[in-house]
Symmetry: C2
Subunit: 484 residues, 2 copies
């Protein structure tokens, strides 16, 4: 069985032991115990600590070997690095298949002694037939099994899988992408990659049926050639989105001290990713935008957009940013103008794409009509709905009439199957705004639109940037298919 398939078994343990389980609030042993209890891990959970007898009502074993069952699939090590070699001996006795080393302060310190210890750990694990995840990482988030590496992450599964060299980055990615409606197959935080590395993980996710979209944060690559070959295969099967950390001078120095990295400059990365059809993003927000786009939008290869909503200024700047990302704004169709002529004869001839929705104030045409008509249009590939809150209306009026329109509009655009991109700006609200009807309505409307499975972006430029990369990807896939 090829290496990459076996990870699937390792990531689906039926029993987990947390070694170093603890009630000390800031300790990893406490946190992982909480994560697995709170997320309802579905297998057997063992806690190990020589100085406790019970944690959260669960019996604690003084040592891994004291667990009565003959085997434990997966061990989460929350003990200091100095104890890992002897823990591995115990793991050998208990037929452990995978050890996640939350344990840190090894090679990443840049010190000789710690680097040597990391190597010895790997050697011993190999001899015992145990795979190592980490060290210096958060491990596995696999909602289907109730495995988690942070608190209050979604319990439902979804199509996004991936691997993150940063544990903090992985946690924040899941938390913030979840607020945009994204759900996950499994996310692996793999840290120093002493054993299981980016190439093996990429291969694994390439063939993982639960994963339709691959997202990753990578600081360094062990073997550039192997990784490139894996990428060539992966990107032809599903979108592979890569955030490369350590692109600048400082980052290159830091990454080097983490792993024996492909020193390769950012230009090498850009060239390789482009050649093999992977999608490069530059920061965590772009990574989230990109998984939102691939999660909620179908394969789109055309670049004609109709933009509707917001006043003249917002429409104009939206048109600018979409055009700057390579999209075109076609003229409005004769059919659409005909509908306008019937309903708003005073406006029909001078409304244009982008559609300044403020022109329709005081007419019988409301946003819902515009969006419904546009979603029937054949002359465009993407409909962009700028759902804006810049109407100069006092709250009490807004409350009575606009909120309903705002909500119904999104129902209207959903039903025709036209790819729709919603733009609703996010604001830095405080507690006072949380008490305001209007901000609550905006928040709730956004959530309802997201819950309907629509792609929502917090600004026109972030929408346009993510859509450009989506269309580039599917256009590349199409061209690859034609070559065959």
């Amino acid at each position: 069985m090829p290496e990459e398939f076996s990870l699937g078994r390792l990531f689906s343990p039926s029993s987990v032991a947390i070694v170093g389980a603890s009630t000390t609030p800031f300790s990893g042993g406490h946190q992982f115990t909480r994560f697995l209890i709170d997320h309802g891990f579905q297998g057997k959970l063992y806690l190990v600590n020589p100085t406790s007898s019970e944690i959260f009502g669960i019996k604690v074993y003084p040592r891994l070997t004291e667990i009565p069952e003959s085997s434990v699939d997966y061990v989460i090590s929350c003990i200091p690095a100095g104890g890992v070699l002897s823990l591995l001996e115990d793991c050998g006795q208990k037929n452990v298949k995978l050890v996640h080393l939350f344990t840190a302060r090894l090679k990443e310190t840049g010190r000789d002694k710690e680097t040597k210890l990391q190597f010895e750990i790997l050697e011993k694990a190999r001899k015992l037939g145990i795979r190592i995840l980490g060290p210096n990482c958060m491990g596995i988030y696999y909602p289907k099994l109730g495995l988690s590496f942070n608190h209050e992450l979604p319990r439902e599964s979804g199509p996004v899988g991936g691997f993150f060299q940063s544990g903090g980055g992985a946690g924040e990615f899941v938390r913030y992408a979840a607020l945009r409606g994204v759900r996950f197959s499994k996310i692996i935080s793999y840290g120093n990659a002493s054993d299981i590395d980016e190439t093996e993980l990429l291969k694994y996710f390439t063939y993982d049926n639960e994963t339709k979209i691959i997202a990753s944060y990578i600081e360094g690559v062990k073997d550039g050639g192997k990784f490139a070959r894996a990428l060539a295969l992966a990107a032809k099967k599903k979108p592979v989105i890569i955030l490369k950390g350590g692109r600048g001078r400082t980052g290159a120095k830091l990454a080097l001290s983490h792993t024996a990295s492909l020193a390769g400059s950012v230009k090498v990365w850009q060239a390789v990713l482009k050649q093999y059809g992977a999608i490069m993003v530059n920061n965590f927000q772009e990574l989230i935008d990109q998984v939102v786009a691939f999660t909620f939008l179908p394969p789109i290869t055309g670049r004609r957009v109709i933009i509707a909503g917001g006043g003249g200024g917002k429409s104009m700047v939206s048109a600018d940013v979409w055009e700057e990302e390579g999209f075109e704004l076609p003229e409005l169709s004769a059919e659409f103008r005909k509908k306008l002529k019937e309903r708003v004869p005073e406006l029909w001839d001078w409304v244009r794409n982008p559609i300044d929705a403020s022109l329709f104030q005081g007419t019988p045409v409301v946003d819902i009509n515009l969006l419904e008509w546009l979603s029937n249009e054949d002359g465009s590939d993407i409909l962009v709905a700028n759902l804006t809150q810049d109407d100069p209306l006092p709250n009490d009026i807004w409350e009575k009439v606009l909120a309903a329109n705002f909500l119904n509009s999104t129902l209207a655009i959903k039903k025709n199957g036209k790819p729709v991109v919603c733009v609703i700006e996010t604001a830095e609200i405080g507690l006072a705004e949380m008490e305001s009807w209007k901000w609550r309505a905006i928040a709730e409307t956004r959530r309802q639109i997201i819950d309907q499975g629509l792609a929502v972006f917090p600004s026109p430029e972030r929408a346009a940037q993510a859509l450009k990369k989506l269309v580039d990807y599917w256009a590349w896939r199409e061209s690859e298919t034609e070559l065959l």
Copy 2:
């Protein structure tokens, strides 16, 4: 008295008449009446409408000329375009100095008849010695006087002034920038610019003592040469930030149908703005980021940043985006390492800039120490505090210990006067998150930091982009001074 000084008098009316005042919810006449009442306009307010006798308890005059006082400084016209010529006659009798035409559907329709009417209005106003603001605009937001063009805008004044060709853009700019702590001297929405135009407004704000930072949204310029000369003067006095709408093919077509624009391509704009030291931004979010930077940060000309906070991934990507904007990350000083060595001997030698704050978990050093020490450093020009919420701690623990640290840290960094940039990500929260302790704590912490007068950005890249333009501007100002 030069033209540009007289606008100051026009924008400070002691009496305002709203012509077309109304109780019809969606009408402009209703909205402007509410804006001025709700914001507490400090002068005399007259309402004019032939079909009402009282609105919100205020007497309504059937016609402007029926107002008993001999003069009215400022008229807001909310009547259809067809009535404006005869309204101007009445304005002449009442010694009106400035008419704001909220009235629209004139030249922007692109139709001959309406274009001709706009011209006739201007001709008549000139004959009567009346200045026109608009048509097709929201007019004046001048918090000191209680003049407003939208609901619930800040009542306190501040250093940011500006002129916006889009009324919706102006309103949303004020509302969203206010959430970041920005306050305004006055913001003028000037629409079709039939009389008072971008060049006159730029000159006015150049000499307006209440305005320290100029922000603008411009679609087209009437006279490119005049505008460039005004810009040359303005940018040497204060930062001038320009969002040019209509940069693409679609926008150029649209802008052309609005005003007799300087057709000039985006390249011409970029060249002119660069030559004269003005700051070009590409969307409304960048415009807000830029006024935040200039409002809360002193003139900085150095590019050395120390980045602290967040885990390894966030630090790494922060370093990347700051370097990509031309900043440098110096090594940490010997003095700083000495402090680390005393307190965290296990870490002192391998902590680097950017500082991965997660390394300090479980040590006696907390964020507040790091930020306090760093704010005493001479070896950097800017301190970037990534205040992150990616700690993998359950809510109850986070609540007990981290929130206080988070708040105290910002107090610590404020007190040494070192330029500090705070990065706190904004998320797309819904009502459920608004009820969560953690999201409320984040929101309230952000608000408190903002209220202390610190620059807060929602992502590292938006911070770095805004700071680059700020440093570029002050470096240019410095070089200009040296030339003298």
